[in-house]
Symmetry: C2
Subunit: 289 residues, 2 copies
Amino acid sequence: MTFPETLTQDAARIEAHLMATLAHRADQPVIHAMRYALRGGKRLRGFLVLEGARMHGLATTQALPAAAAVESLHAYSLVHDDMPCMDDDDLRRGQPTIHVTWDEATAVLAGDALQTLAFELLADPALGSGDTRIALVAGLAKASGAEGMVLGQALDIAAETATAPLTLQQITELQAGKTGALIRWSAEAGAILAGADPQPLARYATALGLAFQIWDDVLDVEGDPEKTGKRLHKDADAGKATFVSLLGLDAAKTRARSLISEAESHLSPYGDRAANLIACARFVISRDT
Amino acid sequence: MTFPETLTQDAARIEAHLMATLAHRADQPVIHAMRYALRGGKRLRGFLVLEGARMHGLATTQALPAAAAVESLHAYSLVHDDMPCMDDDDLRRGQPTIHVTWDEATAVLAGDALQTLAFELLADPALGSGDTRIALVAGLAKASGAEGMVLGQALDIAAETATAPLTLQQITELQAGKTGALIRWSAEAGAILAGADPQPLARYATALGLAFQIWDDVLDVEGDPEKTGKRLHKDADAGKATFVSLLGLDAAKTRARSLISEAESHLSPYGDRAANLIACARFVISRDT
């Protein structure tokens, strides 16, 4: 199966797992909004979990709750980031955002409950021993909290009102928290599930995450809003420093490509088993959404 | 040591543990806001965790991360509940709320990170085996997510715009989620840490949690805003049904007292070891804050 086919199949499995988890919950707007927020998306983080597990000889089904967990965590961050007091986005994946479709209170609560759901999913005995599951909980909490994703988001919001634009070092640190930490946890999860050394996958993911963010900035400049489902030139219009504004478009692309080569090099211990992760890395800097 | 002395000492220990956990984090508004939100309060939930552990012969220090976890989870819920799009409170524990002191974005992010911190704290190896810790994670997620606390809060917000006031059954269900589920988890945690049957403490906490909420409604009518640190008649002014509006003041007090008797009866398996939890139950319906 090719990488795009695997990605599509994994995305469907993850969505099915999430919808099954929420199947018999209360008939309330907050639950409807959670389901809405969990639909669609590339599921790149969830794919990294599943592929990392398969590379260590584990079944996709065993890793599925962890893949669903990171996608629920990611969905929570998008719901809150889109709120008027944050990035104020009215469109996400081509659809109206939660606070537009429902209201701000529902966006706060649905985001809150999606974060909780992520940790609930990691407690699933299907994932393995208590030690394995608590290691995943500890890692996800570290990656997504005030030393990881939330810190990155806070730095991003502070940058909007800062007197001077961020430097390249500052924006790299910001993105390491905002998107990098969760991508890294996703890549490590399969090794943790298998009791293997997560270091090679962690290094792969660190380079991949930075390339991913650089490419997002490229797409903000030359993407097709019909495909990305987002407004174009959003960062530029807001006067925010991006990898493209700091490096220039061509140098930003070159830097992303070089990071992808580096990411691939970290996979050498896995030999042929890394084929899908190599294809994934190349996809990150060729995607148009 | 009397119950009030134990409560005060436990509150200080829990706060010290939380501040130590956040001691070396980034010098950013979101971290400052987290510390601000974690200060003060009665720490009733944390006390229940610690006392439940001591009743099973465990040391206070072993249970401390779990007590800190539930207080961090509770603090997150208060920060988000106070936001303008939710309950719109400008005062909490006698101090300006986070979105007043900082801004709404900081309130969203600090609340988000306080929830994450709760799960991070439960991963602390000091609490015991991986199986024990993941059982606490699973329970806290269930109690605080879209089947527990968040559902209760969503029902509470929906009630504000409902055409008919809630019935007694509806408000009981609402409170079972909004405050009951977390109080119950707190009381059960000590038994889970000790590998004991959590059922007697769960039953105690179910009655205690409902009495606690009825007494909150009593204080909303006849409390002293100087002591509660909250605006008075808030629910009545908003036209919301409360236990007092539905039962009348005297019958509400009688119901709370009867629930406390019931709560005490569930502690009989613990004999004299339950003295502090019995005192705690009586405190819940005699407190003026």
